[in-house]
């Protein structure tokens, strides 16, 4: 996620440079043929092109809005996840009765599992292997159990549910408190499901493909509409207009998949680290991991 106050051109330019370069050469050719080779028939009336440009703008705006909605929903879901993780940790540490022998261990295990859960969800959404991260934080039998699971975050939620049930059976939780804590697990599960929906359902391909094709056609036709009035200035005007359309298309495509391991992602690494710091402080640990700061204006 970009957190600096401006978008550096060097991030956009490489993605549009080839198309713009080709269009510039094409525009110069058309302007030269019209101005110096006497091919005046190359000119097209500007009115239809203006109408096409207007329609294309609406199409692009609609598609970019849809892409932004996905990106924002992903960010909101992770905001909800941060809150629910903190709530769950608070509930476990304050609502479960003390027991001189076991309860402290079980409560700590539940919070450790919550930390593992957010890391596992980040990895799950980025299709990243989470197990090297678990080697130091989870017991071997838990890691072995999780290796058998297709959906690792869901497996961790199940383990947490089992631990809560044990506490209930041991009389350290009454049914009211169990229901309250279990609701937090359900909230976590709902957030995960919504994230998976965004991850597994792409923006309809028509929204992705048609604007790209139509922009290509429009940018090719544009110099024909401008050349009569602008002569050899056509390449400058045409390339500038093309840049706007191509950049809009690129921006939309950048944000439409918010869990794809790019710098436009939801900043899950930063958020999971924040959750871990909060939860470890809840556990009373003095040494907590360092905060993750934006790198080169990008929070990842």
């Amino acid at each position: 996620m970009i957190v600096r106050d401006h978008l550096p051109l060097r991030r956009i330019w490489p993605k549009v440079s080839r198309r713009l370069g080709a269009l510039l050469v094409f525009d110069i050719t058309i302007a030269w043929l019209y101005s110096f080779a006497g091919m005046t028939w190359l000119s097209l009336p500007a009115l239809p092109l203006s109408m096409i440009g207007g329609a294309l703008s609406v199409f692009l705006a609609f598609r970019n809005n849809s892409a932004y909605d996905r990106w924002w929903e992903a960010r909101s879901l992770w905001g909800a996840l941060v809150n629910t993780a903190r709530t769950f940790s608070r509930q476990v540490l304050t609502l479960v009765d003390e027991d001189p022998i076991d309860a402290k261990v079980t409560r700590r295990s539940l919070v450790e599992l919550q930390i593992a859960y957010v890391h596992a969800l980040r990895c799950h959404l980025r299709r990243q292997n989470p197990f090297p991260e678990f080697e130091r934080s989870l017991p071997l039998d838990v890691v072995q159990y999780l290796r058998q699971q297709k959906n690792i975050p869901a497996g961790i939620l199940f383990l947490k549910g089992q631990l809560l049930r044990k506490l209930y059976d041991a009389g350290r939780l009454d049914s009211f408190r169990l229901t309250t804590i279990d609701k937090s697990l359900t909230d976590l599960c709902n957030v995960q499901g919504a994230c998976e929906r965004i991850k597994n359902t792409p923006l309809p391909r028509q929204y992705d493909y048609l604007p790209r094709v139509l922009i290509g056609i429009y940018c090719v036709l544009l110099p024909f509409g401008l050349v009569e009035g602008m002569k050899m200035l056509t390449p400058i005007a045409s390339t500038l207009v093309s840049f706007i359309f191509i950049a809009l298309d690129t921006v939309g495509r950048d944000v439409e998949d918010p869990f794809e391991n790019t710098v436009h992602d939801t900043p899950m690494s930063t958020l999971t680290r924040n959750i871990e710091i909060n939860l470890r402080q809840n556990l009373g640990e003095d040494v907590v991991p360092a905060e993750v700061r934006p790198v080169e204006g990008f929070s990842y």
Partner: protein, 311 residues
């Protein structure tokens, strides 16, 4: 027999998109074999201070702090010289060097840093470019390819490929292409150079000879050379997740700043230069590999013959 040891990995980052995309691959590797990871950022002292550079490198790939061994460093540039100086004090087994962000302009005469690293470091370099799809970087390594080029005569990378495929439990594909046969060659009836086979079975036999008694049974693919896309096609056919190859770059492509030829391959490449400093890896299996039941592979004399596919 030396005991297996962790793979010392030097992960270079300049925070490009490619650096971020590499993270899942390093995570997979850390699960398959034991690694000691060093994340190194070489900064420009004219633009950055040591403090900000260190802060940046600590915020890159933060989850690696939870790995068994991870070290982070920020050192002032220039890149290649700084990396070489680092390697003198801290030798590594593998350099992970993703591409930088494209600048969008041709950079005439600007030589790739990765190319210079491969040539001068004496360490295999893992890299990839725009030809690799994201899912390829995220999935575990199941197919390891190794490209054999009879023209260069260099085979140091074969040992790495054998060890890598063996310890990761992946299938090994040995790839090579024969020169296109023209009338001149047919009239001679034999190769001008005894070291370069012209016939598929001879090539396959020569390739298998390089493997010795290796514990992996390779699959040999020999094809006719049909231009620069030959390797890409073969890699796609065998669904390779990584390819080991000997570094070669044409002088013209180098001057034109076209980027490394591996940047257009469909999978990441691990490249070795003319000289290789360290011994062949002896990888210590990671958690994921340790859990798999041990596969007893027959010795070569008793094994089924390696599959040879001639395309």
């Amino acid at each position: 027999m030396f005991a297996p040891r962790p793979l010392d990995v030097l992960y270079l980052t300049n925070f490009s998109d490619y650096c971020f995309r590499t993270i899942p691959t390093v995570a997979q590797l850390a699960d398959m074999v034991k690694i000691r990871l060093t994340i190194l950022h070489v900064y420009n002292p004219a633009l950055d201070t040591q403090t900000t550079a260190a802060e940046k490198v600590h915020s890159f790939f933060p989850e690696a702090d939870r790995y068994l061994a991870c070290n982070r460093l920020a050192v002032p540039g220039p890149l290649v010289e700084s990396v070489l100086a680092h390697l003198e004090g801290w030798p590594v087994d593998l350099i992970v060097a993703p591409a930088s962000d494209a600048v969008g302009f041709p950079r005439l005469g600007a030589r790739s840093s990765r190319s210079r690293l491969i040539e001068r470091s004496g360490v295999p370099v893992w890299t990839f470019g725009r030809g690799v799809s994201l899912p390829r970087l995220q999935q575990p390594v199941r197919n390891v390819a190794c490209w054999l080029d009879f023209h260069s005569g260099k085979t140091a990378h074969v040992g790495y490929a054998l060890e890598y495929a063996n310890k990761l439990g992946a299938k090994l594909h040995l790839l090579s292409a024969l020169p296109a046969i023209d009338e001149g060659m047919l009239s001679l009836g034999t190769s001008l150079d005894e070291g370069k086979p012209l016939e598929p079975n001879a090539a396959a036999a020569k390739i298998l000879g390089l493997c010795g008694n290796a514990p992996v049974v390779p699959q040999v693919h020999v094809s006719r050379w049909s231009g620069r896309s030959t390797l890409s096609k073969m890699l796609t056919e065998c669904d390779a997740d990584v390819v080991f190859l000997q570094h070669r770059e044409s002088a013209v492509a180098e001057w034109l700043g076209l980027g490394l030829p591996y940047d257009r391959l469909p999978c990441p490449a691990i490249c070795t230069g003319d000289k290789v400093n360290g011994p062949v890896w002896n990888l210590e299996p990671g958690q994921a590999t340790r859990q798999k039941p041990a596969v007893v592979r027959p010795r070569r004399e008793h094994s089924v013959p390696a599959t040879v596919r001639v395309g």
